[in-house]
């Protein structure tokens, strides 16, 4: 009886060990906090640049309009200096993290966030020239659609209520396409974004008032895809914690076994 029970236990252990590759893959695919931090950094930097340039531009224009030449010239000079500094900064950034060093920034952030856990990687899909061209074309089409719908809503051709459902027509397919591009580096967590966005759009059509109205309605409604993307990456990170716990429980060795030959 004891030997039968022992055999069953061994079988169970062997079956559990077979699950290790599945969980390591899930863990590696869901280390998404790196992307979240990268997106937040990019967002904050863009906002800072927009605020500085916007302020200086307003200062220069106001100065010239009111006949205050000194204020106008100072504003224009500082704006030119800021733009020159920005160009220099972009050249520096490209030299450090572009070209041959592509992906270095991701690695630095990844090491900063997940350094203690070590480094893992999933195979990357090799991009053919045809595929690269297709991705660029789709990216351009996507940007034209985004800017076009924004413009249409601002000019009043589309009611703010229908801006999100209209955008869902291209944001959702693009989100699904993004999943196929990013596979297997990222897992199905990428699909959270298009799914949530589609549900949101359907609810608006059904009459639920879940959209922004007022002066900044258009830009605020346009922000939703970013929020859902951030949410998807956050869910991914939380899931990676669970996957890591699972790997550790599956690979745990007792003291003697661990130190054996």
């Amino acid at each position: 009886m004891d030997s039968k029970q022992n055999n069953k236990l061994q079988d169970h252990k062997a079956e559990k060990l077979k699950e290790i590759p599945k969980w390591t893959r899930k863990y590696a695919q869901n280390r998404t906090l790196t992307i979240l931090v990268l997106m937040a950094m990019l967002g904050l930097f863009s906002m800072l640049i927009a605020a500085i340039v916007g302020f200086l531009l307003a200062l220069a224009v106001t100065g010239f309009r009111k006949g205050n030449i000194i204020l106008g010239c100072v504003g224009a000079a500082v704006l030119a200096a800021v733009l020159a500094a920005l160009v220099k900064f972009y050249i520096y950034i490209f030299a450090k993290f572009g070209g041959k060093n592509k992906g270095l920034l991701d690695q630095i952030i990844d090491r900063w966030i997940y350094g203690q856990e070590g480094f893992t990687s999933m195979p990357q899909t090799k991009l053919t020239k045809k595929r690269k061209f297709l991705d660029i074309c789709l990216g351009i089409v996507f940007m034209v659609c985004i800017l076009g719908s924004m413009q249409l809503a601002m000019l009043g051709y589309i009611s703010v209520k229908y801006l999100l459902p209209l955008m869902a027509l291209f944001v959702v397919p693009f989100g699904v396409y993004q999943y196929f591009i990013m596979r297997p580096r990222f897992g199905p967590v990428i699909l959270i974004f298009p799914v949530l966005y589609a549900i949101h759009a359907i609810l608006i059509i059904a009459g639920v008032p879940i959209y922004f109205t007022g002066t900044f309605a258009v830009p605020l409604n346009m922000l939703l895809p970013i929020i859902y993307n951030l949410l998807a990456f956050m869910v991914g990170h939380i899931y990676s914690r669970y996957a890591l716990k699972k790997i550790k429980s599956l690979t745990h060795l007792e003291g003697d076994t661990a130190n054996g030959d």
């Binding site: 055999n7 590759p21 856990e117 070590g118 790997i247 690979t251 745990h252 060795l253 661990a258 130190n259």
Partner: protein, 95 residues
């Protein structure tokens, strides 16, 4: 039917199974997940590497030196064969 003794050792089996799910993993990840000492992990890795089951990649991540491991094609085949043999033995034991 013979069981591959190199893979059959519990720590080495786990190293192989971890790497089977990934493209590559580094030394820190393996020590952290397996809770092995650095020396012990090194010893197991050396055995797997000399058997041709693992490939070692030494590189620099910025200024930090990094050692990553990747399962070879031979290693993947050996691991699949190991499970096949083990399952066959388990089944013959049950019948």
């Amino acid at each position: 039917m013979e069981i591959d003794k190199i893979i059959h050792e519990p720590a080495r089996l786990r190293i192989m199974m971890i790497l089977a799910g990934l493209e590559q993993a580094d030394f820190t990840f393996l020590t952290a997940t397996l809770s092995l000492t650095r020396g012990n992990l090194n010893r197991h890795i050396e055995k797997l590497e000399s058997a041709g089951y693992l490939e070692v990649k030494r590189s620099f991540k910025g200024k930090v030196r990094n050692t990553s491991y990747k399962i070879t094609q031979q290693g993947s085949k050996a691991l699949a064969q190991y499970w096949e043999n083990l399952d066959a033995i388990r089944q013959s034991g049950q019948s």
